[in-house]
């Protein structure tokens, strides 16, 4: 049974995502479209499975949802901060800085989400990963204390991501 399930749905989460994207694209819910979406979402992962050799590991969806809410809140708050910096702070008083964040995460998916989060939360921007993938280069728009930025990223986002990606 489990084997048949694995054969039919090599990437269950991808299937779920494709169904949702399909329904959102249709912009109206109807039974026929739902069935068609399910058929497509089963076929596409099945036929592209050759190019996805690794099965993605499990993620905790509930915690992922909470994490998304936290990030959206942070984006809104931090946008106001950056707008304030842009409008009031002259260039001569701006203190941009490179910050190096040592990473504890090893899963590439988790690092991708962390880098995306850092770029989306205004004021910081992820620039590059070290060649072995153990440090992240972050550019901060304005900071007096680069180590505090690094601590914030590790404590606020990385700690949660470690619990999401098993």
């Amino acid at each position: 049974m489990a084997k048949a399930f694995n054969w039919l749905l090599p990437h269950p989460l991808l299937t779920l995502l494709l169904v949702m994207v399909w329904l959102l694209l249709q912009n109206s819910f109807s039974g026929g479209m739902f069935v068609f979406g399910v058929i497509l979402s089963v076929i596409i992962p099945k036929f592209t499975a050759v190019w996805w050799p690794d099965r993605p590991m499990g993620i905790r969806l509930g915690r992922m949802l909470l994490y998304s809410l936290l990030v959206i809140w942070d984006i809104i708050i931090a946008n106001f901060e950056v707008a304030w910096i842009v409008l009031t702070r002259p260039n001569s008083k701006l203190r941009p800085a490179w910050v190096v964040v040592p990473l504890d995460l090893v899963k590439p998916e988790a690092i991708t989400v962390l880098a995306g989060t850092i770029t989306l939360t205004p004021g910081t921007l992820s620039a590059d990963l070290s060649d072995e993938g153990h440090s992240l280069l972050v550019h901060a728009l304005h900071t007096d204390d680069p180590s505090a930025v690094s601590y914030d990223i590790k404590n606020r986002y990385e700690r949660r991501l470690k619990e999401i990606f098993l």
């Binding site: 959102l24 842009v86 260039n91 190096v100 040592p102 989306l120 921007l125 620039a127």
Partner: protein, 125 residues
């Protein structure tokens, strides 16, 4: 009727927020004087500015259109997925151009991956 009035005010509010943040993004892009800080401004507009416009679009179609429209959510998701990647590429180009402050070396490894040239592929003289 009252509901429609509230919707109009909400619409105006979100359009105003969106245009304000877009304006701030453009000001930031023009004002800052180094490519890395300039990069900060447009990546920010992409989130709250466009997000507010999309919320306004959803309110509009819910009250004056054909009911709730969910495609805006999809736009927002794709925007959130793609915006960091383009910013990342611009940042890497900046690291190669070596203008301004050079980034510090990584703590745990030897070199940043975009600057690491494999031995089989020597840099052109």
């Amino acid at each position: 009727m009252i509901l429609e009035n509230i919707a109009v005010y909400a619409l105006v509010l979100f359009l105003l927020i969106g245009s304000l943040f877009s304006l701030v993004g453009v000001i930031g892009l023009l004002k800052f004087n180094d490519p890395m800080t300039r990069l900060h401004a447009p990546t920010k507009v992409g989130t709250v500015g466009v997000g507010a416009f999309l919320v306004a679009s959803m309110i509009n179609s819910a009250t004056f259109g054909d009911g709730w429209s969910m495609q805006e959510l999809l736009i927002m998701i794709f925007l959130f997925v793609t915006a960091p990647i383009s910013a990342n590429f611009i940042a890497k180009v900046h690291m190669h151009s070596q203008v301004g402050k050079t980034p510090p070396p990584p703590i745990k490894d030897d070199i940043w991956s975009t600057l690491a040239v494999p031995k089989s592929d020597p840099p052109e003289e």
